[in-house]
């Protein structure tokens, strides 16, 4: 029976509906966009072909590179801070008693199921310079000097949006890790404990290596999710002040819909597709290990 599932025809039959839907709804709509990227297009009418002019315009635009820089910052924070934190949170959930574990599991998922608008507005209120929670707290403990105009200072706005974004999804990632942890057989830990391993050693030498597949999955989700960050930016700052908190996706939206330069916006989209493909290849290259069977 298992043999049947492993032959190419079976794999094709099972994958075909998914492939077909992806092709129709994801791959196909990109094709006209590629064509538009070579036209002067206002979203309604084309004024003709312009060759690579739109691409040149994009690549010479300071806003585009600023948006790329912002996107990179968000991805790096997501990878270097949020991902390890999610894993730590998962390990912490695992050692709780069943009662507290349920509380932590609920708390982890709750922000992720809330509307992005609700979350973003909540953080806007928290960052509010005069009566917002963060500045009020800082003032109350005598750190008046640390109070800040968080969302209107160009040096802090991107970090602040990233915190709101990651706060919403860090728990969900933790839960994914937790699910992976639960699938690891308990005997491994018992054997390690007999050999004198403590919690940290067991986590480092057993849990993390056996979570490779889950880590890879969360890694891809986190990177692509961070790269396509849009809604939080839209609600919290509309990309401002000026263009200082735009991500690449927001830059694409702004160019196409706000300034009605759909040709240029499509060129940004095509360049972003290339960036995503590059990142995907990188992730696959660095995480392409043989699966550990257990």
């Amino acid at each position: 029976m298992e043999k049947h599932y492993r032959n190419k025809l079976s794999i094709f039959i099972f994958a075909f509906p998914g492939l077909l839907l992806f092709t129709i709804f994801t791959v196909y709509p990109i094709l006209p966009q590629i064509l538009i990227s070579f036209q002067k297009h206002d979203g309604f009418n084309s004024s003709g072909w312009v060759g690579f002019d739109n691409y040149i315009k994009v690549l010479r635009s300071a806003s585009f590179w600023r948006a790329n820089g912002n996107t990179l910052i968000i991805v790096l924070i997501s990878l270097l801070v949020a991902l390890p934190l999610s894993l730590l949170l998962a390990l912490a959930i695992d050692v709780q008693t069943p009662k507290t574990r349920n509380f932590f599991k609920f708390s982890s998922v709750f922000p992720a199921v809330l509307s992005v608008t609700v979350i973003s507005q909540m953080w806007v209120a928290m960052y509010e310079p005069q009566w917002g929670l963060i500045n009020s707290f800082l003032r109350s403990i005598g750190l008046e000097g640390w109070a800040h105009q968080w969302l209107t200072d160009k040096s802090t706005v991107v970090i602040c949006i990233t915190i709101a974004f990651l706060w919403q999804y860090i728990g969900l990632n933790a839960l994914l890790f937790y699910t992976g942890i639960k699938s690891i057989p308990k005997q491994y830990y018992e054997a390690a404990m007999i050999d004198g391993a403590n919690f940290f050693k067991a986590s480092f030498f057993i849990t993390i290596p056996l979570l490779t597949d889950v880590i890879k999955y969360v890694l891809i989700l986190s990177v692509l999710g961070s790269m396509s960050l849009f809604a939080h930016v839209r609600v919290m700052t509309s990309g401002g002040p000026g263009d200082s908190s735009r991500t690449v996706i927001y830059q694409m939206y702004y160019t196409a819909f706000s300034t009605s330069e759909f040709g240029v916006g499509s060129a940004i989209a095509v360049l972003f597709i290339i960036e995503c493909l590059f990142v995907t290849v990188l992730i696959n290259k660095f995480t392409a290990k043989e699966r550990i069977e257990f």
Binding site: I11, I36, I220, G242, F257, T280
Partner: protein, 449 residues
Amino acid sequence: MKMKKQLSMFFTVALAMSMIGCGGQKAETNTKQAAPTETSKTETPKPASEEKVKLRLMSLSTDENQIKILENYIKKNLAAELPNVEIEFEPGGGGEDYSNKLKTYNASGDLPDVWYSEAGFATAVISAGNQLDYTQYITDDSFIKNFAIPEALKFSDGKIYALSAGADTYFTPRIFYHKDIFEQNGVAIPKTFDEFMAACKTLKEKGIVPMSIMGKGGWAPQLYMVQTMIQSEDPQVALDLLQNKTDFTNPVVLKAVKKIETMAKEGVFPEGVANLDYGPSLELFTSKKTAMFGGFSWETANLSADPNIGMFMWPTSNTQYATEDVTQFWGSPLNGYAVNSNSKNVEMAVKLAEYCVSQEALFYAEQGSKLNLQTNVKVGEQSELMKENIRLYENTKLKIPTIFLNAMDAKTGTEFGTIGGNLLTGAYTAEQYVEDFNSIWQENTWFKK
């Protein structure tokens, strides 16, 4: 194993692409929509008298006045006035959200039957052939006779694309203030910009935030602040910009923008003003957390209930013009109720638009506003604030159209706001503004039409 890897790669790539997915089928849908008005008119099916015609109406849902018009007038009187029409009401949001929603509907061929049009995006809908020219319809049914100045409805191509009660022609920038806060702190209504800054300094020293404005997206600089400051220096430069006879490197523009930079740096506005939305900025004023509110006279009706609120005009810096001599006015023939030229029931949609604009006129007439669309409403006692608003308007010698609405294409207008918003951070100079915005202005296609 290899195939599994390939499949895994494909799904990952597809997932990446799905994150980017953005409608790109504009050109195709567009060609299908562009049906001539006459065809739509002749093909309009006559609904059976017993069955209701379903129409979709999209309105501004963040504008306090528009909400009141919809809830207290349009919805209230609909059954009596248009018994054969069933309306699907769609709240459209406001500002950039509203504009982008309309543009997307326009591109996807899903425009409502009737919507509230705004000059900022209307040219895009018109050029796609999707916004009805009312001329024939409102002439045939004589609705046009209700307008005191029918010419005010005509766009530059001579066609009528929007029906407006005409109140917005009378909308001008105003500074609302709390009389008691001014009195308690010994502040008089400023007549010059220097007096204004001195008043703000006094208020600030007393721990009062002088003025709230909407700064998010550069709304205030975009809609009136830059123009008002230019006018306060030299009205002729504003008129020249409207006719493309000068550009933003004009020294008067630099001096004008410098004032906004100064206001931001001197703390005239609340902290974080560059990210302050309209509702919260008004709330700061009505809850007395700020002494003044910079906005338009369309807030007069809302603020009239509080007799402690007064208004004055932005002070001038030009000794040749008194503060009340020059103002900017908001109106545009593209603001108002528009009809989808591809609606299945164009004639009923026109009737609905006529009904909506009549209700809008009723609302403003009852507030005592001046209107182009005449009503039978006998205005009762006007509030002091409304009287002051009308007095200021009538005393103004020179009324200048809004540059943002009447001299900028979509891109220039949007960047006018975005770059203007930088000024409110206090970390962006007027010189940078001139350099950044003038390059956008040079690419402005408005005057090439």
